[in-house]
Amino acid sequence: MNTETIVFALASALAIVFSLVMLFQRKPVKSVLSLVVTFFGLAILSVLLAAPFIAALQVIVYAGAILVLFLFVIMLLNLEQEAADKETRKIHFYLGILAVLGLGGLVTGLTLRAGNPPVPVGNGPFLIPAKDEIPLLGKVLFTDYLLAFEALSVLLLLAAVGALILSKRRFE
């Protein structure tokens, strides 16, 4: 067992355990915080997968910005007490569990049984180098994916404007 395997085991255990905490936690604030921990685990996995830039984004954007936004909203709306209500529709609850276990079991089982999927090796300019992946990612983003990148910036602008309009005082 090399270190990489140990790190993988710890990180994935962290992610899975805290995602389960998020699932069973009834208080929204605690859910968000446990999800933050899950995202840290995912960031570690990303580093193992030769994607340090994505790992940084995961921490900075997801954990640092998006989930903090969630926290703001939860506290703004003061949602503490509402989470404690009892489930009213039993049938829905059981059907939901059945669906999740069925589909999840099915797909997970398939993944485990199939082993390493036969993925053809890529080639060409996008080959991940052994070291310093970030310059290549930047190059690819600003050359081959430039149009999508710019479109994304417009999308973010629109999202900001939309959020502004939606959170205005009232819809008349």
Binding site: H92, L95, A99, L103, L106, V107
Partner: protein
């Protein structure tokens, strides 16, 4: 000098537009005025009822007060201002008069050229533009003047103008004066299109146009139920004929490859594009069905007597002199085609003869003065078809020509009588009018003699030649039927004459004091038409008296008559026989109807008051038959039982059984299915996001399972 032919129908069309527009504008202005007056009178109603008041005012403006039982005109609406009446009269009469002058300007030189060179006479054809061009078919807007259309044109315009002039006096008290003249001008336009057309589709435009005008004018008193119903009856009955007419036009197109009247020449030279004897027979029968509808032949004659619901000038112009002769014109126009199918001609002859005697017999027992004339018209049209059927097309057209004069005169005379008696049409309430209305009396006597066939009046020559042609052609039964009809005609015309003009007046003295002769615009046309009834006969003298100008004139259009050699002695004998029969009819009428009888009380049994004891004895012997005849042979009831009521039953079945159950059932069932599906699906549409998400995931699960299992 060449006059443009298209101006002849265009002038009345212009008149129609001017009169119609003026009438509409005046009507709208009146409605506006009345609406304002109403608002002034009801200031508290506010403005919310503007629309309603307009409608109410309009209704009041156009309605004619109910006025007793008569079918004549109603002078109860508000009279138009004199300036407007002058405008309508001048435009109405003026345009038609101009068209008449123009057409005689064309006709007279043409007639001269035809008479000087019968063999080489070419028709004048004036093509304006191509109307329809599809493949090899080309239909032009083209006008044609040949001998046949020239003859029609002459009396249509001449009699038409006189009747327009007459209407100026007769209709002056009517609120719908402008509307009346607009329709009358439209009728003249349509009739001239019909007469001047160079092909069958164009003729059909005129054909439908006169049908429309007939409908509009019969229903002139549209607020009266009987007038509206009569208009509808005329229209629907004509539709039956028109369907034959349209199919006939298609048939002509199939046979000759053209609808241009050049097919007549082709038929004369037996050049058919295709066709079997049966095909030609079918085409002729279909065209004749169209003619039956328009010219009121058995079994489609039923609309014409009811058409008397229109104003009397309309009856004179449309339902006696011009429009109803369109069928005869059509048959004469297609004479060459009919000659290719002798069986079809036999059919024409028998239908004509049957109509003649049937209508004449009904005419014997009518008491309404216009009804008698209506049945006499049907009967005379039967004569015309009889003539065409025995191959004497020129003689048939000659009868059309003479009939136009004396029947127009009779109708206008009856209109004058009705006018004098303030809308009394029942002859039992007349009598002794000879002294009160001398002009009407004299002109009607002349035209009655003409229609009865007394020498030397016009009807004698034409009718005698019809009978002569039937006899010479060997159609002895047709001849006999015609002869009996001639006797009946003489009888009922002089029954009418005696009941109307002879003896003493049978109304109240108060009514008697109001009897007056008609104004000059009405009597002048009467005099002219009376003179026509005397003189027109001399245009077609029988062969024994010399040259028959009419037959010779028409020969380029309808072909030479097959000369059946009959000795002069036989011809004289035939004339003597027909004169004797007519004389007997007149004698019987004079003997039975003295006109010197007790006062008339409405509701009394027919004939009870008027007829002499000898007549009463005769009526008692023929009790049942007499009643059936008086009831018009129960034809209307028969049609109701045999045609209309089965149709109504089929219609009811289709409505209740097919439409309501099956069609509606299909529609309702599909609607019900949608509703049911909606009810089911609504169960899933809870509006809850989690339900949707769950359904979605379950769907994905099912789909994954399916992929796996496969």
């Amino acid at each position: 000098m060449n006059y443009p032919i298209w101006l002849i129908p265009a002038l009345p069309l212009l008149g129609f537009l001017l009169n119609g527009l003026a009438s509409l504008l005046y009507g709208a202005a009146q409605a506006q005025k009345r609406g304002e007056e109403w608002r002034k009178a009801h200031p508290d109603e506010g403005h919310g009822h503007d629309h309603g008041s307009h409608e109410a005012a309009h209704g009041a403006h156009d309605s004619h007060d109910a006025h007793g039982h008569d079918h004549g005109h109603h002078d109860t609406g508000p009279m138009l201002p004199w300036a407007l009446r002058l405008f309508h009269g001048v435009v109405g009469v003026g345009t038609v008069g101009l068209a008449t002058v123009l057409s005689f300007g064309i006709l007279v030189p043409y007639a001269k050229s035809v008479m000087s060179n019968v063999e080489g006479a070419r028709p004048i054809v004036e093509t304006l533009y191509h109307w329809i061009q599809v493949g090899g078919l080309s239909i032009d807007i083209a006008f044609r003047i040949d001998a046949l259309s020239a003859l029609m044109l002459s009396f249509v315009t001449f009699v038409g103008t006189l009747i327009h002039l007459y209407s100026v006096g007769y209709m002056q008290a009517e609120a719908g004066y402008g509307r009346f003249f607009a329709y009358l001008n439209l009728f003249m336009f349509s009739m001239l299109m019909l007469v001047l057309a160079n092909n069958l589709p164009m003729l059909f435009i005129g054909w439908e146009g006169v049908g429309l005008c007939s409908y509009l004018l019969i229903g002139y008193y549209y607020d009266k139920d009987f007038a509206a119903a009569a208009g509808k009856k005329a229209f629907v009955t004509n539709r039956v004929g028109d369907f034959g007419m349209v199919l006939g036009i298609f048939g002509i197109l199939a046979l000759f490859g053209t609808t241009d009247f050049s097919f007549v020449d082709m038929a004369r030279q037996q050049q058919m594009a295709s066709g079997t004897p049966l095909g030609v027979y079918a085409v002729c029968a279909l065209l004749f069905l169209g003619a039956c509808g328009k010219s009121a032949q058995v079994p489609l004659y039923v609309w014409l007597p009811d058409a008397m619901a229109g104003p009397t000038p309309v009856s004179a112009l449309i339902h006696a002199a011009t429009m109803v002769t369109a069928g005869v014109y059509l048959v004469a126009r297609c004479s060459a085609v009919f000659l290719l199918a002798p069986d079809a001609l036999t059919l024409v002859a028998w239908v004509g003869a049957g109509t003649a005697i049937l209508a004449a017999s009904i005419g014997l027992a009518q008491n309404d003065i216009k009804k008698v004339l209506a049945y006499s018209t049907v009967s005379q049209l039967g004569y015309m078809f009889l003539a065409c059927g025995v191959g004497a097309f020129a003689i048939g057209m000659f009868h059309v020509f003479t009939h136009a004069f004396f029947k127009a005169c009779l109708f206008l005379g009856s209109g004058s009588v009705i006018h004098a008696l303030h809308h009394e049409q029942d002859m039992r309430a007349m009598g002794g009018l000879a002294k009160k209305t001398p002009a009407t009396h004299l002109t009607m006597l002349v035209s009655a003699l003409a229609i009865a066939g007394i020498v030397p009046f016009a009807g004698f020559f034409s009718k005698d030649q019809i009978l002569g042609s039937a006899f010479a052609g060997g159609h002895y039964i047709l001849f006999a039927v015609g002869l009996v009809t001639a006797g009946m005609t003489a009888f009922y015309m002089f029954r009418l004459y005696r009941m109307t003009f002879s003896g003493t007046y049978r109304g109240t003295p108060e009514q008697e004091s109001h009897i007056h002769e008609s104004p000059l615009t009405m009597t002048v046309p009467l005099w002219i038409l009376g003179a026509g009834s005397v003189l027109t006969g001399f245009l077609g003298l029988p062969e024994v008296f010399g040259k028959n100008l009419m037959v010779e004139f028409l020969s380029p259009s309808v072909g030479k008559m097959h000369a059946h050699e009959v000795s002069h002695a036989t011809e004289y004998l035939l004339m003597a026989v027909s004169l004797a029969v007519a004389g007997a009819g007149i004698f019987l009428a004079f003997k039975w109807y003295t006109g010197q009888d007790a006062k008339f009380t409405p509701g009394a049994a027919p004939e009870d008051i008027i007829a002499s004891p000898a007549a009463h004895a005769f009526f008692e012997k023929t009790g049942t038959l007499g009643k059936v005849v008086a009831n018009k042979w129960n034809v209307d009831e028969g049609i109701e039982a045999l045609v209309l009521s089965p149709f109504r039953k089929i219609g009811t079945f289709l409505w209740r059984g097919f439409d309501a159950l099956f069609i509606d059932g299909l529609v309702n069932a599909s609607a019900f299915m949608v509703e049911l599906t909606g009810d089911l699906v609504r169960f899933f549409t809870t509006g809850n996001v989690r339900n949707y998400a769950l359904t979605f995931v379950l769907g994905v699960l099912g789909f994954t399972l399916y992929i796996w299992m496969r």
